[in-house]
């Protein structure tokens, strides 16, 4: 008995020290991944991201809004969004341009035109798209670009906490505000919108996801009961809109008619054909609750969040990005959430389609932990893209909520109220003052490199992503037509960062710029499946993805070394399928939809 007791005590001590050992092993892994310098990173990981915003002529620092004085005590928390970035070739010169939002009342947004020489020039003022945050009209939260009138030039919808705006692109020479003709509502407090042609009529429709209710003017509050009623089960947010494009610059709001009815707090949305039906499905990541997946039958949407598995565990969804991460011709969905050591471990979600499921019975399982992309701090925007051109999609995640006083944090007070009764959490006046404290601030970003065998390894520190700003939006584009994906990151109350990508030249690439004819001209929703070296990767042109972001419409495929490309199969939104046999690596293919 005595011996058994000794064995038990030893076992007990072993159990107690197990978490310490696991932590040490994990820290050692992280340390070994943090090599320094460009040449070491190029050699080891095949790429290095060099922050060049200043050299590129971009010295933009985002400013946050100042909302109603009744929210002054928690202003950094409630006014914590608005930094966004979208990539567009607005003047069709073949070089991607950058649009970024500012969010201070009276501030000006920027449209950085690509000068083709490594620099950008702000032309927002000249183009008439700078002064869009005027007092009384709310402030910008994001932008999504799409050619809604099929004239060949990308127009844009300005997402706001305030009066939403639609701008028509006048052949790259300027923009005209057409919000009134389009029939947009007077006020929406939104953080996400997506262009997509849900009914396949060849015209882009627009989904807009409300965050705060639309009857709340955040600058003139009637009362302070405008916070979520629950941290994870809130249904008192803004309504959702689906603007059906009628043609002629007019839209009809049809959300209720087509089955989209929700008052969850939407922060991010994306549309992609998740089931291979030819109809884009709509995925919405909600703060304070479960995600929603609306399956599209071409006419109506069916809420299938719970049934498919993505709408089961409530978290704080802040991102929707699609990627064929396993090179199997199927999209996984990355949704970011909150993880704060010792306080709240929600973990990000990587929804991978379950083997053997599809169609209306599609099921997803969360493989974020297994694949190593689960813990990302207070995560915001993320995008999939092949950063080192090795033939697999990597993942860039930015994060950090409120970086103020480094020594004092607000988590204790935050958790105290967040767990309380709805009448307490829902009223801003019940929230303790932040008094300059940080809330998940100064966080390290994550650049997860896909090893092609089902694991992602964080190499952010090694490849030059060392900033600790409060990241919001991430967008990818081959900014200088070099056959690599560069990264642009918008930070809340922080600088716009432009990461120029240096990639091992041995790794090859191919790019596709598509233009619809029967389909929408932006070709949003068009898919390219590339077959090379015995593998397949599928990518889709998106009308908005990540958080408050939009990648360049050009599709970029990394191919690895010595690629033998069999074919590229393009499925246009019209249903037309086009095959390009043996396309050459190292080339941009500009393809128009065949009549």
């Amino acid at each position: 008995m005595k011996r058994a007791r000794i064995v038990l005590i030893v076992l007990f001590i072993g159990l107690i020290v197990t978490p310490i050992i696991i932590r040490r092993i994990s820290a050692r892994h992280k340390q070994s991944a943090a090599t320094q310098g460009m040449s070491a990173a190029m050699q080891r990981h095949g790429f290095y991201l060099e922050e060049v915003s200043h050299q590129a002529g971009i010295d933009f620092v985002h400013q946050g809004p100042t909302l109603d004085s009744q929210l002054a005590h928690i202003m950094p928390e409630v006014a914590s969004m608005g930094a966004s970035v979208s990539i567009v070739d607005f003047d069709r010169d073949g070089w991607p341009d950058i649009y970024v939002t500012d969010s201070k009342e009276g501030s000006r947004n920027r449209l950085y035109r690509n000068q083709h020489d490594g620099t950008f020039k702000d032309v927002a003022e000249a183009m008439g798209v700078a002064d869009v945050n005027q007092q009384g009209t709310g402030v910008s939260m994001g932008t999504v670009w799409g050619d809604y009138d099929n004239d060949g030039y990308e127009d844009f919808f300005l997402i706001k906490w305030g009066r939403p705006e639609l701008f028509h692109n006048d052949h790259g020479k300027g923009f005209t505000r057409v919000s009134d003709q389009a029939g947009l509502p007077a006020w929406i407090n939104a953080n996400t919108a997506v262009w997509f042609d849900y009914d396949g009529d060849g015209r882009l429709d627009l989904f807009v996801g409300g965050y705060y209710p639309e009857n709340v003017d955040l600058w003139h509050l009637k009362n302070t009961k405008m916070m979520p009623e629950s941290f994870e089960y809130a249904k008192n947010g803004g309504r959702k809109y689906l603007f059906h494009n009628l043609g002629g610059g007019r839209f009809e709001e049809v959300s209720a008619k087509v089955g989209i009815s929700s008052r969850r707090w939407a922060l991010a949305a994306g549309a992609a054909d998740l089931r291979g039906t030819g109809h884009p499905d709509l995925f919405v990541a909600n703060d304070y609750g479960v995600a929603e997946l609306f399956l599209n039958d071409g006419k109506r949407f069916h809420d299938a969040g719970a049934q498919t598995g993505v709408g089961f565990a409530p978290k704080s969804g802040m991102n929707v990005a699609f990627g064929d991460i396993l090179n199997q011709g199927r999209y996984s969905v990355y949704v970011s959430n909150i993880s704060e050591e010792g306080v709240l471990i929600q973990g990000n979600n990587l929804w991978v389609p379950k083997e053997g499921t599809g169609g209306s019975d599609i099921k997803f399982e969360n493989l974020a932990r297994d694949m190593g992309v689960e813990l990302g701090g207070w995560s915001f925007g993320a995008q999939f893209g092949d950063l080192n051109n090795d033939g697999t999609l990597d993942l860039f995640l930015t994060n950090g909520y409120v970086s103020l006083d480094k020594q004092r944090n607000y988590w204790y007070d935050f958790s105290k109220v967040a767990g309380g009764n709805s009448s307490i959490i829902g009223d801003a006046k019940d929230w303790p003052a932040m008094t300059g404290r940080s809330l998940s601030g100064y966080q390290q970003k994550h650049v997860w490199m896909n090893d092609g065998a089902g694991k992602f390894v964080d190499v952010a520190q090694a490849v030059g992503v060392t900033d600790t700003h409060d990241g919001r939006a991430v967008a990818f584009a081959d900014l200088w037509n070099r056959g690599v994906l560069d990264v642009v990151v918008a930070n809340q109350r922080g600088p716009l960062l432009v990461y120029k990508n240096n990639v091992n030249p041995e790794n090859q690439w191919i790019e596709f710029a598509l233009q619809g004819t029967k389909s929408n001209r932006s070709a949003i929703g068009a898919e390219v499946s590339l077959y090379w070296n015995g593998q397949e990767q599928k990518q889709e042109i998106s009308g908005g993805s990540g958080f408050a972001a939009q990648n360049d419409r050009r599709l970029h495929f990394g191919l690895g070394k010595n690629p033998q490309i069999e074919k590229a199969v393009i499925r246009w939104p019209s249903g037309k399928v086009q095959t390009i046999n043996s396309p050459a690596a190292g080339k941009l293919y500009t393809i128009e939809e065949p009549e």
Binding site: M1, A4, R5, L8, I9, L11, F12, L15, I16, T18, P19, I20, I22, R23, S26, E229, S230, F231, E232, Y233, V290, F312, A313, P314, E341, G342, V343, L344, I345, Q346, G347, A368, R369, E374, L375, W411, Y412, D413, S415, K416, V417, A418, G419, G420, N421, S422, S423, I424, I425, G426, D427, K429, D430, W431, P432, A433
Partner: protein, 286 residues
């Protein structure tokens, strides 16, 4: 809560009729049934569980550990109500996307009952001990349930009403009452000191973590002192220690307060009992 894990044979008594036996459920099984009810209602209405699998892992690990350790150390099969409650508490209170913390926490929880003993009594509430160890040492992987239970008043009232009824039946309602009143008083005091809204200070007790804490942890018969006055004093002391922990912005203040006060109270009681026994022995001897 941990009802006696090892049962001692009772003296034979006249059995009540079958129908009465059905209605008068063995009191040891009321807490497990209640906590199961909370779990099911919480999960079916709000989806509170990280996943069924993780909770089942915690329960299964607890039960297997209890069976093995009970058999090895007491040479008999233990009653499993205690292990079940420990497992389910771990399954509800612990939050982690990983599986291993659930198994590890359940193992630490059950093993602590067999290791951390003084004069035949285990000192810590088992699940409180296991969860605190995980929060101390595996903070990068786990958190405790604090917000994952809706913020719904109706659900809270149902649990409070049912919980109060059940612990009143076990004659332990005074513990919960003293703690709740003390917490409220200290909450107002904190609000005054910190100039924070009183609603913010009261807020935590309206959340789910406290519903398990006040009905299951602080009322645990195996890890509370014997006298009613002593129990009330301990409940007050827990709230008192929590008051200071909260001033220090400790997120898991109630769990840590019980972790500190519970064993201290038991040790003091043992010391007082031994002194009393010694003085009685001295009186008898004289």
């Amino acid at each position: 809560m941990s009802p006696s894990a090892i049962t001692t044979p009772a003296a034979p008594a006249k059995e009540p009729p079958q129908w009465k036996r059905w209605l008068n459920l063995d009191s040891r099984y009321v807490p497990p049934l209640f906590i199961t009810l909370i779990l099911l209602v919480g999960h079916l209405s709000f989806g509170i569980l990280e996943s069924y699998q993780r909770t089942m892992l915690a329960i299964a690990t607890s039960i297997v550990a209890e069976l093995v350790l009970g058999r090895v150390f007491y040479k008999k099969w233990p009653n499993l109500a205690s292990a079940y409650i420990s497992g389910i508490s771990v399954g509800i209170l612990l939050r982690s996307p990983a599986f291993w913390p659930y198994a590890l926490c359940a193992l630490i929880t059950i093993t602590s009952k067999y290791v951390l003993r003084v004069k035949g009594r285990h000192l810590w509430n088992p699940s409180n001990f296991g969860i605190c160890v995980m929060l101390f040492l595996a903070a990068d992987t786990v958190a405790s349930l604090s917000i994952q239970w809706g913020n719904n008043l109706a659900a809270m009232l149902v649990i409070w009403a049912l919980g109060s009824f059940i612990i009143a039946r076990h004659r332990r309602f005074h513990i919960t009452a003293v703690y709740v009143l003390s917490f409220a008083a200290f909450a107002f005091l904190r609000a005054t000191i910190l100039h924070d809204p009183w609603q913010a200070e009261i807020s935590p007790i309206t959340g789910p973590e406290y519903q398990l804490f006040i009905f299951f942890m602080i009322t645990d018969p195996r890890t509370t002192v014997q006298s009613k006055v002593g129990q009330s004093l301990v409940a007050f002391c827990i709230a008192f220690v929590e008051f200071f922990l909260r001033l220090d912005q400790s997120i898991y203040a109630p769990l840590y307060a019980l972790f500190m006060v519970g064993p201290a109270a038991l040790l003091i009681e043992m010391w007082l009992n031994s002194r009393k026994a010694a003085s009685m022995a001295a009186v008898t001897a004289s």
